[in-house]
Amino acid sequence: MTEDVASIARAVLSRHSTQEGALLPILRDLQKEIGHLPEAVLPIVAQALNVSRAEVYGVATFYHDFHFEPHGEHTITLCRAEACQSVGAVALCERAKARLGLDWGETSADGRVTLEQTFCLGLCACGPAGLVDGKHVARLTPEKLDAIIAKAGG
């Protein structure tokens, strides 16, 4: 683990030191600032919170948002839930997987794009919906999806 990551970890832990039930906010902040959750940082968190490494690992692996590997330069997230299904999300998702040659959670070999799945973004009256680098998109069509993929360099 680099000194950068270690110092980020110390700063985040110190920021949350008086908060009750702080583990999720801590993990979220760590991932936001480092870009992913390096496994090596978990024991430091465990020690600071006086819980076991297994417990921290258990929490980090329970929630879909946390990933131990860095994501690509761009992340394309598509909603797979029922309301989006009703307006063609299944076909759109298959198209994305085929065009990118990726399955859910995978990153392209050149590190440009990560494809993620989500179950509902609360945009259920204007689906199919998604997120491109954290920005919401709705009423997706095959053409719009292709443009998004092209722009991300996929």
Binding site: G21, V59, Y63, A83, F119, A125
Partner: protein
């Protein structure tokens, strides 16, 4: 002159920021003195981004507006409500809004969400003032009288829950707002948090006064980043004005709150799983008893309420419980914000008293499908809700009426499917989703969901269909009665309703192909 461009996530996803920027730039270029307000959404999602202009005659709406429409709008004199193909007129005269009874969504889309003066202009915080005046016991009585039932989906009487917490002695009590609105087809909570955040804060403060809680948490799912940001800002603003803190509105009551963000787990919408998550643990479901009202967050008496339940309290305290109770039918009192979603022509937020039929909502208000093809199936209540065919469209929107027909209202989301839907795929997805989101604690859910997918695949492949249907029914019964919570427990709703009402979708792939020929 004020111009309203919504900042609601749906509007943003459809380009509202670009529209706002275009209006700003063009107004500047033309020397027009305008003030752009980023409001919540009025809930007519098919018209978003819906831009409103304040004229002497009232607000005039235009939509759906794209950035490229803006020059044409200026040419048509839209700043004075001028005619244009996108002109809608006064939003409140639009039948979609006119037919609603907006008690909770009264201010959403009208006010500037983060402007306390706007909220106060509409009687904001008068509910809290009254709660402090009449005291905890009288506040609880009024909420019981109102008949308000938990709007998350379980429908438990809110006043009774509060009374339980109020009567449980403890050194620390909590108000927890469940804003983990994970059901597909639902977005009402998101709209309130983005469009009328002070209403939620006021509701939580009222709950705190009533129960003696001094700390609160709003647990918002991470998939709602705009709601998170807006609530955080609203909390800070409220605190700076003495609406949160050591002395609420100068009274003896202390209450403050913190926004917490989830991490992508659907099961954390279940109240005990949510509490575990707040405590920094895996979102595993707890056995009940003990109820959170007795032993909740960190073992203390805790009120866990849905966003809409809490947002209903301003009205109840200002107008009185009886006024709220007089809307509705049977044991379903007050109004329900219904979310019309999926393959629907006029999708959005429709708040109305309980009692309208499913058909009235889908055909009458929703205009049928977006695709123009016939409605084939409707899923009400989220991924764990039943699939209803057209034959059940006379079912009134009422907790007990839906239960009697093997369905549930849940959080009031209605997802419409046209005739291209394959209910086999929907049933399979229900099991797959359960497997993906299971907390893993109980066997019927953790293992049953995976077996459910396998059995459905065997049926589809034509392997001993009769035997496997029987096995699937047995599995559903086991999950229904053996699961620790409603995730495993309610998966039989979508699966068994799909089989019951749409049997021909469950023929083996080979038979389906023959039937199609």
């Amino acid at each position: 002159m004020k111009i309203f461009v919504p900042i609601d996530a749906a509007a943003l996803a459809l380009g509202a920021d670009d529209v706002a920027a275009a209006i700003h730039d063009l107004a500047e270029a033309r020397g027009a003195d305008i003030d752009i307000v980023r409001n919540g959404s009025r809930g007519m999602v098919w018209l978003e981004p819906m831009v409103e202009v304040e004229t002497p005659e009232g607000r005039i709406a235009y939509g759906p507006v794209e950035a490229s429409d803006v020059p044409g709008l200026f040419e048509s004199g839209f700043l004075h409500g001028g005619d244009h193909k996108l002109r809608i007129g006064k939003p409140e005269n639009h039948p979609f809004l006119k037919r609603q009874t907006r008690l909770v969504f009264e201010r959403c889309g009208i006010t500037d969400p983060l402007c306390l003066n706007d909220y106060r202009k509409y009687g904001g915080f008068e509910g809290l003032t009254r709660a402090i005046e009449i005291g905890p016991a009288a506040t609880i009585e009024d909420v019981i009288l109102s008949g308000l039932r938990g709007r998350g989906g379980a429908g438990f009487p809110t006043g009774i829950k509060w009374r339980t917490v109020a009567e449980t002695p403890a050194s620390q009590k909590y108000i927890v707002c469940n804003a983990d609105e994970g059901d597909s087809g639902t977005f009402a909570d998101r709209m309130i948090m983005e469009g009328d955040p002070f209403c939620l804060i006021e509701g939580m403060a009222i709950a705190a006064v009533a129960t003696g809680a001094t700390r609160g948490y709003i647990y918002i799912r991470s998939e709602y980043p705009h709601a998170v940001e807006t609530m955080m800002e609203a909390v800070e603003l409220a605190r700076s004005e003495g609406l949160l803190g050591e002395r609420l509105l100068g009274s003896e009551h202390a209450f403050d709150m913190e926004v917490r963000v989830g991490a992508g787990a659907y099961v954390c919408g279940e109240e005990t799983s949510l509490l575990e998550s707040l405590e920094g643990k895996r979102g595993e479901v707890r056995a009940k008893p003990p109820l959170p009202a007795h032993k909740g967050l960190f073992g203390q008496p805790t009120v866990v309420n849905n966003v809409l339940s809490l947002a209903s309290l301003h009205f109840i305290l200002v107008e009185g419980g009886a006024a709220y109770r007089d809307y509705g039918m049977g044991r379903s009192r007050g109004t329900k914000p219904i979310q019309l979603a999926g393959n629907i022509k006029y999708g959005g937020l429709f708040e109305t008293a309980f009692g309208m039929t499913l058909g009235e909502l889908i055909d009458g208000i929703g205009g049928g499908t977006l695709s123009g093809r016939p409605v084939r199936a409707v899923q009400v209540g989220g991924p764990l809700g039943a699939y209803f065919p057209r034959a059940l469209f006379d079912t009134p929107f009422d907790y007990e009426a839906f239960a009697a027909r093997g369905g549930l209202l849940g959080h009031g989301g209605i997802v419409v499917f046209d005739d291209t839907v394959d209910l086999f795929e929907q049933a399979r997805f229900a099991m797959e989703f359960c497997a993906e989101e299971s907390c893993g604690k109980c066997t019927p859910c953790r293992v049953g969901s995976i077996r459910g997918v396998e059995i459905l695949d065997k049926i589809h492949a034509g392997i001993d269909p009769a035997g496997n249907f029987e096995l699937l029914n047995e599995l559903c019964e086991t999950m229904k009665f053996g699961s620790l919570c409603a995730l495993g427990g309610f998966v039989p709703y979508p699966v068994q309703s799909a089989i019951k009402h749409f049997p021909k979708d469950f023929l083996a792939r080979t038979n389906k192909a023959k039937a199609a020929e």
